[in-house]
């Protein structure tokens, strides 16, 4: 019996010491950058584990591709050919509009619009922590990736690069609770800030006055303010607007345009200001 109690008190002492050490570690990590090199080293060492963790997904993709019937491939091919034709047509119109826009901007002595180039990348890892929305992509410094670089999927803005290694990088998604993005309403140019709230399917619009001209269904695009994200990329659609009595601002939910938790192939954006080694138009 005596042994049991002495064992318990020693255990409680250890528990107290380790808990205090954990609290100190949290304080040091939150307020300094002394421990950041540890993340980088362990991240590189853990690469094979990320690769192994992705095997079931790759097998699933491979099997889905392998057992697709010929008729489905043919109908997909036909659909993609049609879509390609439509997009080419739209692109020609876009070039025409871009040229006209440039002429008008010159007339106004405004800065020229920057032409963006992109690099295709694949997602090779997703953060397992549900409250931290990051993902790992298969491009790194060798491909000219840099911290702060915007990331898109086929539908809209996904996030920005926060860590770069030689052959891979980590991106913070726009739905992460620590992320904020300057946006504007496409219909009337109303500016605001879209913040993540750790939900892959929602963003919140901040600081919009109850008298502002905003409606459900309004499309939001990046405003380009802040200099990080290029202007004009789709961010989301206004899903709901709540005007609570006594609140200074509206509560607005946004449905993100990008398929944040589903997209596998993404685009890294380079504007003409960026060093674009390895980028393809």
């Amino acid at each position: 019996m005596r042994n049991v109690f002495s064992r318990s008190s020693s255990l409680l002492r250890k528990l107290l010491v380790v808990t205090l050490l954990a609290v100190m570690l949290m304080i040091v990590d939150s307020f300094t950058s002394w421990l950041k090199p540890a993340y980088s080293t362990v991240d590189n060492l853990a690469r094979p584990l990320y690769w192994i963790a992705n095997i079931p997904l790759r097998v699933q993709e491979w099997s889905a591709n392998s057992v697709t019937p010929r008729s489905e491939i043919e109908s997909d091919n036909l659909r993609l050919t049609k879509e390609s034709l439509i997009y080419h047509g739209q692109l020609q119109r876009m070039s025409d509009l871009a040229a006209e826009n440039l002429r008008l901007r010159r007339l106004l002595n405004a800065t020229e619009l920057l032409q963006d180039s992109v690099l295709v990348t694949e997602v090779i890892g997703v953060s397992a922590n549900p409250l931290r929305h990051t993902l790992t992509i298969d491009r790194g410094t060798a491909d000219g990736v840099f911290v702060g670089q915007p990331l898109l999927d086929a539908e809209g803005l996904m996030g920005q690069i926060i860590e770069v290694h030689k052959r891979h990088s980590t991106a913070l998604l726009i739905t992460d609770s620590s992320h904020a993005l300057p946006v504007q309403v496409l219909r009337n140019g109303l500016r605001s800030i879209a913040e993540g709230n750790a939900d892959y399917n929602r963003l919140n619009l901040k600081f919009v006055s109850p008298t502002a001209d905003i409606r459900e269904g309004d499309e939001l695009v990046s405003s380009g303010l802040g200099g990080l994200y290029p202007a004009g990329y789709p961010v989301g659609t206004v899903l709901s607007i709540v005007n609570e009595l006594g609140d200074s601002f509206l509560k607005i939910d946004i449905d993100p345009s990008a398929e944040i938790d589903r997209s596998r192939h993404l685009l890294l954006v380079y504007t003409s200001r960026d060093s674009a080694a390895g980028a393809t138009q």
């Binding site: 049991v4 318990s8 255990l11 409680l12 250890k14 528990l15 380790v18 808990t19 050490l21 954990a22 609290v23 100190m24 570690l25 949290m26 304080i27 040091v28 990590d29 939150s30 421990l35 540890a38 993340y39 362990v42 991240d43 853990a46 584990l49 990320y50 192994i52 963790a53 992705n54 079931p56 997904l57 997602v123 890892g125 997703v126 953060s127 397992a128 922590n129 549900p130 409250l131 931290r132 990051t134 980590t170 609770s177 709230n197 750790a198 939900d199 892959y200 938790d261 589903r262």
Partner: protein, 158 residues
């Protein structure tokens, strides 16, 4: 299994838990996924309380913090508190049935998760507390497999 292989056994289960933790999932599954590393650590501490305890749990917690990109010290504290509770009860926990052990693990995880969520809510950060019941249920369902695996791998006494 010879005791020389104990490190390999612990290492293998931890690698398996890391791979399961890092496996990408979409939709609500990412929030519901059990904390496999924590479950494996708790299983080892129940079955092998004299050799693996608080410091082992704290080290795995540190690894979890780095791999899951959490604030360093966060998982250290969660793993330490859960393992501390299990270690205090380990003499009795060994003799509980599988269902009773699963319930005990669920209870400890729930208490620690609610404490954790309270801290997040206090600081105005998202806590995902609404997904907690599903996460606990899935952890309970995963527990028998982890418990049996660890029981098979643990070194024979004496």
């Amino acid at each position: 299994m010879e005791s020389d292989n104990r490190g390999v056994a612990v290492g293998l289960t931890l690698v398996l838990a890391v791979v399961l933790s890092l496996m990408p999932l979409s939709g609500d599954w990412i929030v519901w996924k059990p904390n496999f590393l924590l479950l494996v650590v708790m299983a080892w501490v129940i079955h092998w309380p004299n050799d693996l305890g608080i410091f082992f749990a704290a080290s795995v917690g540190l690894l979890s913090d780095i791999l899951l990109r959490m604030t360093l010290g966060h998982s250290v504290m969660v793993f330490t508190l859960c393992t501390g509770a299990i270690a205090l009860l380990s003499r009795w926990a060994k003799y509980l049935s599988m269902l009773q052990r699963a319930l005990l693990v669920a209870l400890i995880i729930t208490v620690v998760a609610v404490l954790e969520a309270s801290v997040f809510i206090f600081y105005g950060r998202p806590s995902a507390i609404e997904h907690l019941p599903m996460k606990i249920l899935l952890s309970m369902l995963a527990w028998p497999f982890i418990d049996r695996l660890v029981a098979r791998l643990q070194p024979k006494q004496g």
